[in-house]
């Protein structure tokens, strides 16, 4: 696990060598091994210094999350933290020099080990990352990271790194002072480590020196007071809905900065214990780690056997097409980007090029890789050039007739085994494939915008889609390192369908006369990154209108049975046709978007509420109060999620949770919309829904599946697999 080498110069090199096929992780066994080693080494007077490095491509990638799996009390988590802290403290208190020779990623506990060393030198490799990413999974550093990093580089610089969980490149880490030196290769790395040991036989940590320099942002001076006063409000604002981690991290840094390192670490460990045992942390870890892993491994072995996807055609060089082309090319796939003429396609490539340049600037991509990426994208305007593609993704505008036309053409020109995908956020695949000769080779791939940043892809199996095509689509998603969820066909699939409810419920509230400010604040208070009206502007009012009309068409009705649905449609139509408010894209939606000032809710939106003629339909309860507004925006999404289970659109709980977090910014602390359905028990949910139904209309009627869950005695949708529809992907038994 850790290999020891003692050289003639009496320097010990400890090489971390974890489980094969895995990154180097801090497991229970690793901790115990390290503890024993450190005990022996620090007692041995003949050893002059110690080098930590690794035998593998990473240095140390953090904690093995199995460490936390079986723990059920805050104190148990606290103990894990203390154990690591104590070992690291022993290492740094040892009166001989210790160097971290960082040959690969040093993340989380890996960086914490390095921070406990007297000197950190790393290989100057573009891809090597250094950071404390714990917060992203709902956790926080527990190996002294919240204490040593601020002491090393200053509170002001350390705080955002820990709060955002940002991983730095080697050069960034060097510039900010985390790394002391860089080396070009493994040999130089170890040479530099040895040189430090020889020159600093009695190296001490700066925070263990008698005279230490106070941090200017420590809350012992006015500057520090003001810094933390603003920090706590900013953390609340910037990490809304992201769980308890950021607040605990901030408190650990604040309190720790007023204490000696030993007590400061203890404070960190207490916060760590409290956080890891919190619901928000468990929810986030469950969905953002285990849930995502599960989504990403679904069908993996079957997909492996498929031939590599070498060439992809992308129809439509608009924003979505550009994004899809970019991510494909980034993973080594040849892309043919097609539009009505070459000029239009070229314009798309120019946009991609700009994005790629930005990536280079941010050090996410090397110049060489960026050139290779761009070289993989070719523009075309003729269908017959697609004849060699393994997969063609149509990414035209959301217009059913246009999409149908494209697919008719495609069928004529593609090779036999080519699979076709439509990138749509809502249009049922079955509608798109109407009239095709071979609809079985068509699936839906719903990419999210901006494509390079959004990890989720909704993979849609239409009624006709065959297993091979589904797997091919899945293969592409795997190749792009994105997270797939597999859903059944239907208007809006899962994500758009549920997410749209957040918007339409807001419009219903507006039509009842609720102030838009109250609606927007309610959404944010629930933990959504944006209020529902802001989001409506982002997705464009036309898209919402089209969806509502498509829904009416599919339900074969002119007017919806639920009058509130009609009012929603009326508002959107009025804003589009009467006020020419289309959303953010024409700088006029429910908000106004002036050129040089921040957006503001439009007076017309306020008027919409003020002039509302509608009393709610089913009863005369007056305007909903703030808690009721929140409850409606919240529960309507749960109703729709349950209906998706009921109708087989969705058939696993973790996919629903993952998609809600990655797809529409559902508040991370909840773990996802499915966990929210389970949170307070289905009986309670039933009761709350009945209350809402009585007060606000039929759309809150508890879905039948809720009754089934109660009757069968499932306490969680995670356990209720057998009542869901058949899996959409037939997996081999060992998969």
């Amino acid at each position: 696990m850790i290999n020891i080498l003692k050289t003639d110069d009496n320097i010990l090199t400890l090489s971390i060598d974890g489980k094969p096929g895995q990154p180097n992780l801090i497991s229970e066994a690793f901790l115990t091994h390290l503890e024993t080693l450190v005990e022996v080494i620090t007692r041995d007077n003949t050893t002059l210094g110690l080098i930590f490095t690794s035998q593998r491509s990473d240095f140390l990638s953090g904690a093995d999350l199995e460490l936390f799996r079986s723990k059920e009390k805050s104190e148990d988590f606290y103990k894990v933290s203390r154990k690591l802290q104590n070992i690291l403290r022993e290492i740094e208190k040892w009166e001989r020099p210790v160097v971290a020779a960082i040959n690969g990623h040093a993340l989380g506990g890996g960086l914490e080990l390095a921070l406990a060393c007297n000197y950190r030198v790393a290989i100057n490799h573009q891809k090597l990352k250094v950071g404390l990413p714990e917060v992203k999974l709902g956790l926080m550093p527990g190996g002294g990271g919240t204490q040593r990093l601020p002491r090393l580089i200053g509170i002001e610089k350390a705080m955002p790194l820990i709060l955002e969980g940002k991983a730095l490149s080697v050069s960034q880490a060097r510039a900010i002072g985390i790394l002391d030196d860089l080396a070009d290769n493994q040999e130089e790395l170890l040479e530099k480590a040895r040189a430090f040991i020889e020159q600093n036989p009695h190296a001490k940590q700066p925070w263990d020196l008698k005279e230490s320099h106070p941090d200017p942002h420590c809350p012992r001076s006015e500057r520090g007071y003001n810094f933390f006063t603003a920090a706590s409000a900013l953390v609340e604002k910037n990490f809304r809905g992201k769980g308890d981690g950021p607040a605990k991290i901030l408190s650990a840094i604040y309190e720790g900065s007023l204490l000696p390192i030993d007590q400061a670490c203890e404070v960190e460990a207490i916060y760590f214990g409290e956080l890891l045992n919190s619901t928000s942390s468990k929810n986030m870890l469950d969905t953002l780690f285990y849930g995502i892993n599960k989504c990403e491994s679904k069908g993996k072995t079957m997909v492996k056997d498929l031939e590599e996807i070498k060439q992809v055609g992308v129809i439509g060089a608009g924003i979505m097409g550009q994004g899809i082309a970019q991510v494909c090319a980034a993973k080594g796939i040849e892309v043919l980007l097609m539009d009505k003429d070459l000029t239009t396609a070229e314009m798309g490539v120019n946009q991609i090029s700009k994005k790629v340049e930005k990536e280079v600037k941010r050090e996410h991509l090397s110049i060489e890789d960026s050139k290779l990426l761009m070289a993989r994208i070719k523009t075309i305007s003729e269908y017959d050039l697609l004849s060699n593609c393994d997969l063609v993704i149509e990414a035209a505008t959301e217009n059913l007739d246009l999409k149908r036309k494209i697919f008719k053409e495609l069928e004529e020109h593609i090779k036999e085994e080519c699979v076709l995908a439509t990138n749509t956020s809502s249009l049922p695949i079955q509608q798109v494939t109407t009239g095709l000769q071979r609809p079985e080779r068509v699936l839906g791939l719903h990419f999210f915008s901006p494509v390079p940043r959004m990890k989720l892809v909704e993979v849609i199996k239409a009624k006709a889609t065959n297993q091979e095509s589904l797997l091919k689509g899945l293969k592409l998603v795997h190749s792009l390192h994105k997270t797939p969820i597999i859903v059944r066909d239907g208007l809006g699939f899962f994500t758009t369908r549920v997410f749209m409810r957040y918007i339409t419920e807001a419009l219903k509230l507006l039509s009842e006369g609720v102030s838009p400010a109250l609606i927007e604040n309610a959404g944010k208070e629930l933990g959504f990154p944006l209020g529902p009206l802001e989001i409506a502007d982002e997705v464009s009012l036309e898209l919402i209108k089209n969806l509502l009309e498509e829904k009416a068409r599919l339900e074969n009705v002119h007017t919806f049975r639920d009058p509130s649905e009609n009012r929603t449609r009326e508002i959107v139509t009025r804003f589009i046709t009467k006020y020419e408010r289309l959303g953010k894209k024409n700088r006029k939606g429910f908000y106004d978007y002036p050129q040089e000032r921040p957006k503001k809710i439009s007076p017309q939106t306020y008027d919409e509420a003020k002039n509302s003629q509608h009393k709610e339909d089913s009863s005369q309860v007056g305007l909903p109060n703030y808690p009721a507004i929140k409850e409606r925006l919240h529960l309507i999404q749960m109703v729709e999620t349950l209906k998706c289970f009921e109708q087989g659109i969705l058939n696993t709980a973790h996919e629903g949770d993952v998609a809600s977090l990655l797809g529409w910014g559902y508040p991370a602390y909840t773990g996802g919309v499915v966990k929210e359905c389970d949170k307070s028990g289905h009986e309670d949910l039933m009761k709350r829904l009945i209350d809402l139904q009585q007060a606000w209309g039929e759309r809150f009627t508890p879905p039948k599946i809720l009754k089934t869950l109660l009757n069968k005695g499932y306490s969680s949708l995670y356990e209720a697999r057998e009542i869901f529809s058949n899996p959409l992907l037939i997996e081999k038994s060992n998969d």
């Binding site: 809350p219 006015e222 520090g224 007071y225 003001n226 933390f228 006063t229 603003a230 920090a231 706590s232 409000a233 900013l234 953390v235 609340e236 604002k237 910037n238 809304r240 607040a247 901030l250 408190s251 604040y254 102030s515 838009p516 400010a517 109250l518 927007e520 604040n521 309610a522 944010k524 208070e525 503001k600 809710i601 703030y626």
Partner: protein
């Protein structure tokens, strides 16, 4: 309390204050040590009332001073330091207290309580703050900077809270500026007419030269046009440091938090001190002191901490109830003008006539030396009740952390 003790009436025998000097590097009180400011008002009071050393040894157990930023030269119990600096007998003890902006009035209420319970016949209470030498905020505090506490209380800076009051109650910039202009007009007129003379005790240096004879922030030239030029002071804090979001979390009916307050419609930053001589009836008779007013009642409240500055209304109602008085009984109100919106809100909440509020201007014009303001307002109120030959007055202040305070006094008509 032993059965021998009976409740005593509490009389105000005298009140003095220094002028308020601009609390900046170019202010006229800058070179005066805070301890000197405090000592000066104590000494003036003692001299004016002819209290000799023996009397002080026998009757004056303690000096209670309010002081907010108890740090450096204002730290370490400045009340005791001031007692020594003032040359009082060494038997006189000192107590310094901090209830933010109400500290000076709190000192008086505390003294009143001790006199009322017959534990002290005579006390001096007041406050001191040299904001130029010991800037406010210099002492930190968990309410604001401890992330855990600040989150629980929903802390936003006071100026942002004042803007929040304005936004919620739809006070526009014009309303607030108008009050500010009015405050200057009233203060300038009162200054001109010599209404403040009775309590003012200018500080002199060792060479006998007075530093400042009047409150130096009052500007009769202030008008709507000059104020219109000033930029909002707290908009940046609200918009860019997360405080708007914190405010909207509690007040979701607002879409935005517009900045309305600026240097001209917020209290000015000044240096000053004040002291009040309080005692029971017997000690007054014994020493030949003339009672000017008596303290009828007082009250503290704590309201929603984020909006923070809405305490004066409920504190006033509570204190009046304790004195068995109604709002209509009150002749004059001194409402600390921490920010213009605070006073407008007080007037709206209690529906009292504007003409009874801050008749000689307020802290926007005169200044708000944090720890000293409460006792200064009390002195101003006694003077004005006498001048107008009126009876009942209320002093009230908003306080950080969402607190509020009010004291009800009744003039002794001889």
């Amino acid at each position: 309390m032993s059965s021998a003790t009976s409740l005593k009436e509490v009389f105000i025998y005298d009140a003095v204050r220094t002028p308020r000097g601009k609390g900046r590097a170019d202010g006229n009180h800058l070179t005066i040590r805070p301890v000197k400011l405090a000592a000066h008002v104590i000494e003036s009071l003692v001299k004016r009332q002819g209290l000799n050393a023996q009397t002080l040894e026998e009757e004056l157990e303690d000096i209670i001073l309010g002081c907010v930023t108890q740090l450096g030269e204002q730290g370490g119990c400045i009340a005791k330091a001031a007692a020594l600096e003032a040359g009082l007998p060494t038997t006189v003890s000192g107590l310094t207290i901090n209830r933010f902006c109400a500290s000076g009035l709190e000192a008086i209420n505390l003294a009143a309580a001790r006199i009322k319970c017959d534990q002290n016949p005579l006390l001096i209470a007041g406050g001191v703050e040299s904001m130029s030498r010991v800037p406010m905020g210099g002492d930190g505090g968990a309410l604001m900077m401890d992330p855990h506490t600040a989150n629980l209380g929903g802390y936003i800076p006071q100026g942002v809270a004042a803007d929040l009051i304005a936004n919620l109650n739809r006070y526009g910039r014009r309303d607030l500026d108008q009050w500010a202009v009015h405050s200057h007009e009233k203060a300038a007129y009162a200054q001109d007419q010599g209404y403040f003379k009775k309590s003012l005790v200018p500080v002199k240096n060792a060479l006998g030269k007075s530093y400042l004879a009047y409150d130096e922030m009052v500007r009769s030239s202030t008008n709507m046009e000059t104020l219109a030029k000033l930029k909002p002071s707290f908009a940046n804090l609200a918009q860019n440091f997360g405080f708007k979001e914190r405010a909207l979390k509690k007040y979701p009916e607002l879409e935005d938090l517009e900045g309305f307050h600026h240097a001209g419609n917020s209290s000015s930053i000044v240096d000053g001190a004040s002291a009040v001589l309080l005692g029971n009836q017997d000690v007054g008779k014994k020493l030949g002191l003339k009672p000017r007013a008596k303290i009828r009642s007082w009250a503290n409240v704590a309201t929603e901490p984020t909006i923070m500055l809405t305490g004066p209304g409920p504190a006033t109602i509570k204190a009046l109830k304790k004195a068995d008085l109604t709002l209509e009984d009150v002749d004059l109100f001194e409402v600390n003008e921490a920010f213009a919106s605070v006073v407008l809100k007080f007037i709206d909440d209690l529906k009292v006539p504007e003409e009874k509020v801050n008749v000689n201007g307020g802290a926007i014009a005169l200044g708000h030396p944090l720890g000293a303001t409460g006792s200064m307002l009390l002195g101003t109120l006694v003077d004005e009740l006498e001048r107008r030959d009126q009876k009942i007055g209320v002093v009230t202040l908003c306080i950080g952390g969402g607190m509020g305070i009010a004291t009800v006094i009744e003039r002794v008509i001889s």
